[in-house]
Amino acid sequence: MGDSQYSFSLTTFSPSGKLVQIEHALTAVGSGQTSLGIKASNGVVIATEKKLPSILVDEASVQKIQHLTPNIGVVYSGMGPDFRVLVRKSRKQAEQYNRLYKEPIPVTQLVRETATVMQEFTQSGGVRPFGVSLLVAGYDDKGPQLYQVDPSGSYFSWKASAMGKNVSNAKTFLEKRYTEDMELDDAIHTAILTLKEGFEGEISSKNIEIGKIGADKVFRVLTPAEIDDYLAEVEESAAATRRTGKIGNEEEESKMMTGGRNYTRLSIDSQKVSGSVCTPRWFFSRERGVKISPSHHLLICFHKR
């Protein structure tokens, strides 16, 4: 395929045994916008940042989360145009399977076939690997499933995963927050909190996208209004947590928030501490606070009166 001058593969082994092109592709993915997925006991949720290059872009026209079949959805981190090509191919494969067997394609099979396509582009002449990692969320007879597919063509099933810019923070956050018996709505809240972690700017329904699939086996992208509802719920529960003065989770949370981030936002709440335990704790107010560089850690101690 292609010009005869490029009948050799552009992806070749380095002396250390690595495929450098694939490493570079993973770098491209790693500099893409954060996306994540969480598998709940009764469904799967996937979400992504939707940072547009300018306020003039019509955000309603941008759809980063796509359907592959009525019961399988996908989100990506990396190069948008490569994603479009993969979505097109995957949809065709899913429909071919359906036409042959008159049965909706199982999630595993679709993931495997998509991964095969991605692998082919690492071993064919005149082509480069795809610069995207995919998170495929689906619900079939085997229950809810979440798969990640990498540019190399390898795929993994995850309980929760993240990709893109903020991947290490997001994964740490998910590791702490994930529970096996989480329900879909909890998972959506956790997804929003995880996105909020590394979010530059104010999170709103205009700059994130969320897709979910439940036991009804219908994949849906949430409307901005629904996202607003979830955001409000998240804010409410965060405010409630602050008011009751919970420890433990928040403390670890605070420690995590400062490690490895570009900047930390905090301002001191003038509220008196109503909890009776003497522990250092972080307070975050809702107003945008002062930007402090990463090496600063401010510890405020409140003593029992």
Binding site: R99, L100, Y101, K102, E103, P106, T108, Q109, R112
Partner: protein
């Protein structure tokens, strides 16, 4: 003489209560001459799915081999057996691939689906599916088979009664057809076991 009548055949499948039965004759002929009296027309795809093929014997064997191939790959890839409905769609697609140079056989597919619900269907040589709730027939003796089954069939028969019914229907129909006969081969499949029996009828 039509090419479908070259070898002679009779295949029938019937639905019972959480079970099904599939039966065929055993004659292999070359027009008027009988070559073999133990020809296998019904084959197992997996423990809950059987296919009987009538028509030209060479296509019967080749098509069976192709279908087993496809099913084995499916089993390896998807780590499960094919559902009968899915298998029927697959057979239909494979037959239609050869629309302008078809396999000269008519399959009869019988299986137990989810919840042990029996499934039967037949199709013509280019893949037109025909689902039925009671019985399906194919082969040179099909017209007699239609009549016999219609008369003898009752819904919700248990395995033993189903065996009796399908055997009587098969033997009386092939007796009216010179190209099929020389005994019968009956499989009765319930969720727990597969019973295979050979019938002795008029050996002519």
């Amino acid at each position: 003489m039509s090419i479908f009548e070259y070898n002679g055949s009779a295949v029938v499948a019937m639905v019972g209560k959480n079970c099904f039965a599939i039966a065929s004759d055993r004659r292999l002929g070359v027009q008027l001459q009988t070559i073999a009296t133990d020809f296998k027309r019904i084959s197992k795809i997996h423990d809950r799915l059987f296919i009987g093929l009538s028509g030209l014997a060479t296509d019967v064997q080749t098509l069976y081999q192709r279908l087993v191939f496809r099913h084995k790959l499916y089993q390896l890839r998807e780590e499960r057996d094919m559902k009968p409905e899915t298998f029927a769609s697959l057979v239909s697609a494979i037959l239609y691939e050869k629309r302008f140079g078809p396999y000269l056989c008519q399959p009869v597919i019988a299986g137990l689906g989810e919840d042990d619900k029996p499934f039967i269907c037949t199709m013509d040589s280019i893949g037109a599916k025909e689902l039925a709730k009671d019985f399906v027939v194919s082969g040179t003796a099909s017209e007699s088979l239609y009549g016999a089954c219609e008369a003898m069939y009752k819904p919700d028969m248990e395995a033993e009664e189903l065996f009796e019914t399908i055997s009587q229907a098969l033997l009386s129909s092939v007796d009216r057809d010179c190209l099929s006969g020389w005994g019968g081969h009956v499989y009765v499949v319930t969720p727990n076991e597969i019973k295979e029996r050979i019938l002795k009828g008029r050996m002519d």
